[in-house]
Amino acid sequence: MAETIFFNALREATDEEMARDPRVLVMGEDVGHYGGSYKVTKDLYKKYGDLRLLDTPIAENSFTGMAVGAAMTGLRPIVEGMNMGFLLLAFNQISNNAGMLRYTSGGNFTIPMVIRGPGGVGRQLGAEHSQRLEAYFQAVPGLKIVACSTPYNAKGLLKSAIRDNNPVLFFEHVLLYNLKEDLPDEEYLLPLDKAEMVRSGEDITILTYSRMRHHVMQAVKTLEKEGIDPEVIDLISLKPLDMATIAASVRKTHRVLIVEECMKTGGIAAELTAQIIEQCFDDLDAPPVRLSSQDIPTPYNGILENLTIVQPAQIVEATKKLLDNRI
């Protein structure tokens, strides 16, 4: 076991996969000589050269489209969004070509590519750099969407995403890059389509992902002291949702709280709620509750920003309220 910082876990995953498969390359803004804006690719260009760590001009839609072309013809590109928000400029290539082209082409081409980078609300970065794009992309057919949350799952999931033969949108979180965790010395991969049981419990199912997992776990400390036993599940796969794991938990606890950082309208929790109601209605003792960010552009001011995203105290309060009406 070696203590590994989050961004290095991602770097190790990239390095290992690049060493394993010469078709794997990284492209994006400042991924080469600069080492990536969060140092995920630091010094890899020294080992693999400028073509495999391709520093691109600031032209998101075009370099994302280039990655699609490279993937169609057998390479396995990883596109780094310096900030995932910038990929709004590449929405067409991600949607029409990465997501839909395999289907539209009747299976002529496959698109094995990963689009990864920091998403989420940081610390006072302002609206454009504090986006929650997972909700925007979830309707695109053909995309897999994954959100990592710990150094351990970041490494295992990124390796699997690189080996997957489909386009994978891989969300990291700007405030998690400095988390540390002991990682196994031996190689491991984690499945892209399985939720992670973070804490097994009996009273309520709390579904969350990315940085909100850590807010949830802060809340859980308080809830434990009050004798509440929540089950916490990290979704990991935002598309498709691991409904088997989720439904099994709902059958056990009969209550659901969803905690997310994306906006409430059309968010991941909105889709999740719909699927839970469709598939688990008879197991529910109360309507599922959503705690989402406010439906506003993320404000710069620190006080307003904290009001925009979900805080641990709100999670405690919402959990207790859901349990108050226990039969």
């Binding site: 073509l51 032209a59 489209g65 280039m66 390479l75 299976g107």
Partner: protein
């Protein structure tokens, strides 16, 4: 009426062709023309649907460029929504193209794509890209792939050239300029062929473009830009051969602006009311098929009866494609979700 741009009169790179090459080019252009005429007929008879953009008039560009590529190796072609004839020139069987237009499962995109989304991996047709300009980055990435295999994977056989077709309208989009920059920066083996047919649906090129000579934008990014008479297949073939040789030799990309004209409206749904009658007449006199025929006859390379025989044979070939498409099955409804993911 807008002043007609003077076509380059004395192209220095006009290809000289043998009898066999001449017949090959003629046959390819006739296939494009008769295929599209048949599409119009089938569309009006209710056999194909959606937007159908025909290529009539522009055949010299498809034939001149694509038939200068290697068909059996790693060269690639990217097209637009006006892609039927590019697909045919690239070797996709007429039966598969027609079937796709009929939405049949025997179509080159299994009935999932339609007129604007023809794909064929076996023929290295990267697709019809229906949003204007979006194929340019994809083609640029495929050219990058060729270079990557050669230089980062030490595969000397990776000497493929990618040709990317698009129109004058696309050349005002940012993806064009972004990709010119990257292709020149990395000396990618890609050729950007602009089929300047003067009209982006109803927007005249001069009304949309501050510098209407698109070929001049190549040198601005550090690559050659060539203007060519897009109604002269031998002129197109000549500049294409030169650009392909440069790309294959690792000398980087080229912009080719082919001045051409579509003999029909933007699509079969376009009433085509804006283009002046006089303009259409000027260009219809430059019909690229007649022009090649006249050349081949004038040089004594072929006899008129031989060309007529080709016309007859190709018409039969196109009729056979229609019969094949009509007789082909629809996709199986249980396969609605097939091809979403790689494992499907």
């Amino acid at each position: 009426m807008v002043q007609e741009r003077v076509l380059p009169a004395t192209p220095t790179t006009r290809a000289t062709v043998t009898r066999e090459e001449g017949l090959m080019l003629y046959e390819d252009m006739v296939l494009g023309r008769l295929f599209e005429d048949k599409c119009a007929e089938m569309y009006y008879r209710g056999k194909m649907f959606g937007f159908v953009h025909l290529y009539n008039g522009q055949e010299a560009v498809s034939t001149g460029v694509i038939r200068a590529l290697r068909r059996d190796a790693n060269d690639y072609v990217a097209s637009t929504y006006r892609d039927h004839v590019h697909a045919l020139s690239a070797g996709v069987p007429a039966r598969e193209v027609m079937s796709e237009l009929f939405g049949k499962v025997t179509g080159c995109s299994k009935g999932r794509g339609g007129s604007m989304h023809l794909f064929s991996e076996p023929h290295r047709l990267l697709g019809g890209y229906a949003f204007v300009s979006e194929g340019i980055p994809v083609a640029t990435g495929v050219a990058f792939q060729s270079k990557y295999r050669r230089e980062a994977m030490n595969d000397p056989s990776s000497d493929g050239v990618t040709v990317c077709f698009f129109g004058d309208g696309a050349a005002n989009n940012g993806q064009f300029f972004e990709c010119l920059n990257m292709a020149a920066l990395w000396k990618l083996p890609v050729i950007y062929v602009i089929e300047n047919n003067k009209w982006a649906i109803g927007m005249a090129h001069e009304r949309a473009t501050s510098v209407p000579e698109i070929y001049k934008k190549g040198p601005a990014f550090g690559m050659p830009g060539v203007e060519v008479d897009g109604m002269d297949v031998l002129a197109v073939r000549g500049v294409a051969q030169e650009a392909i040789a440069r790309a294959r030799a690792g000398e980087g990309p080229t912009v080719i602006e082919a001045l051409t004209y579509r003999f029909r409206g933007h699509s079969l749904a376009d009433p085509d009311e804006l283009r002046a009658k006089e303009e259409k007449e000027v260009w219809s006199k430059r019909d690229p098929i007649t022009r090649l025929a006249d050349h081949l006859l004038g040089e004594g390379l072929v006899k008129a009866e031989e060309l007529k025989e080709i016309d007859r044979r190709i018409q039969e070939h196109v009729n056979d494609a229609v019969k094949f498409a009509l007789d082909s099955p629809e996709p199986d409804p249980k396969d609605l979700y097939k091809y979403i993911f790689a494992e499907d």
